[in-house]
């Protein structure tokens, strides 16, 4: 076989290569979630601390830091979705359906990855319009003065809170399969580590889930901040 002109192109076009791209961008997004959650939980430390944290993010590297992170995350997000949609379409094409379908051990989460993923995409678009772009002029005014007030006000709307919780539930499902998959695709999973990887994956998904929903639920159900 002749060696190709562009080895990287050949690699990216192969099934394993594309999966590796999905795994690496997924890993970046998984790590972002941990950072994002730790920052968000500062909301429970009060308005002063949270607003100072928001100020720090926006002034980091003379205001460049937040844009470096945004562009990096956007790239990972777009590539992750682009490649998974590509792979999913190929997968659907490769299979012919059974009259009597059966599943032996594939988890529900693993079978709805594309749907949980696309719901998360819809959520992220909404989330950015809600708290980052701030299309609501009341929230925009609050956001300038105090991001903490903006979050408290933002979650007063039950529809927002419900959509948030639904999206986080699907994120939890997505992570429970996704985190473990990163290890397998990177070739780090073996019989010996399989149990630990499954545990880490589920535990991580659970911590992220509980952490994120704790904020809107405390505000909406328990009147936190009011």
């Amino acid at each position: 076989m002749s060696s190709s002109k562009c080895s990287l192109c050949t690699f990216i076009k192969s099934s394993i290569g594309r999966k590796l791209v999905v795994a690496l961008t997924g890993l970046a997004l998984v790590l972002f979630l941990a950072g994002h959650l730790s920052g968000n939980l500062l909301i429970f430390a009060g308005a002063e601390v949270f607003d100072a944290y928001a100020e720090f993010l926006h002034s980091f590297l003379h205001g460049m830091g937040v844009w470096v992170a945004r562009i990096g995350l956007l790239a990972c997000f777009v590539i992750h979705i682009w490649f998974t949609v590509l792979l999913t379409r190929e997968n659907k094409k490769a299979r012919t359906p059974y009259v009597h379908e059966a599943t032996v051990q594939a988890s529900k989460s693993s079978r709805i990855m594309i749907w949980s993923g696309l719901t998360i995409l819809a959520f992220v678009i909404f989330h950015l319009l809600h708290f980052t772009v701030r299309i609501d002029s009341d929230l925009a005014a609050l956001g300038e003065a105090s991001p903490w007030e903006m979050v408290i006000q933002g979650f007063q709307n039950p529809l927002v809170t419900i959509f948030y919780v639904i999206a986080m539930t699907l994120l939890c499902s997505h992570l429970s399969h996704g985190v473990a998959s990163i290890f397998q695709t990177l070739g780090l999973r073996s019989k010996k580590t399989a149990g630990a990887i499954k545990f880490i994956s589920c535990a991580y998904a659970f911590v992220i889930y509980v952490g994120f929903i704790s904020i809107p639920l405390s505000i909406w159900l328990f009147g936190f901040g009011r």
């Binding site: 076989m1 060696s3 080895s7 990287l8 050949t10 690699f11 076009k13 192969s14 099934s15 394993i16 290569g17 594309r18 999966k19 590796l20 792979l87 190929e90 997968n91 094409k93 490769a94 299979r95 012919t96 359906p97 059974y98 009259v99 009597h100 379908e101 059966a102 599943t103 032996v104 051990q105 594939a106 988890s107 693993s110 079978r111 990855m113 399969h177 473990a180 998959s181 290890f183 397998q184 695709t185 990177l186 070739g187 780090l188 999973r189 073996s190 019989k191 399989a194």
Partner: protein
Amino acid sequence: MSLLNLTLKVWRQDNPSDSGRIETYEAKEIPTSASFLEMIDIVNERLIKDGHDPIHFDHDCREGICGMCSMTINGVPHSKERGTTTCQLHMRKFSDGETIYIEPFRAKAFPVIKDLVTDRSSFDRIIGAGGFISVRTGSAPDAHAVPVPKPDADAAFDAAACIGCGACVATCKNASAMLFVSAKASHLNHLPQGQVEKDQRTLSMVRQMDAEGFGNCTNQYECEAVCPKEISVQHIAKLNRDYLAASAREGVS
């Protein structure tokens, strides 16, 4: 000896271009000692006697080592029994009055030839691409001429147990051939005799797999669960590793 009366819902397809359909057959008085294939033999004898076209299916050794028998029983290749081939499945695993769906292994890369018979030559082409070592044949070398560490020998042997039946592809939600390809690559990549061509083998086999139109692995491990030889998905992890390393070396050389 107890006898079973069963209802079979069997996929009948006259030729590769036929759209195919499910047909219903009553399988009466089937001995529990019969194998699944023998049950179909009995049904076929009756079909032939009545002047009908018998159900076509693949089979050869009937002792679980050739990988020829290939049918999906109630949606699961080789049935839901773990670590068994269809020929080694016995009718005592079924109960009287049961309805059994029998379909071919389904994947775009395994086109149906007739009824339950599929063309699995895509596997042969993957083996042809790299599932071999280039050595002079003839006189066998002494068994101790090339020392192999015990863990490597065991891992290679576990991978080599693959009989290439295609159940992994048939059960995979994406019709991915990763378990088969990884087992065949891992078998040789674990051994000193396979090191010389390791990178070339890994690259060629994966590229042939992609060219055949198999899907992509999504780490659901259905393959491992239905594999009659219980090949582990850790071979897939190794193939991912080996492919990455081989691609990197190919890129810089």
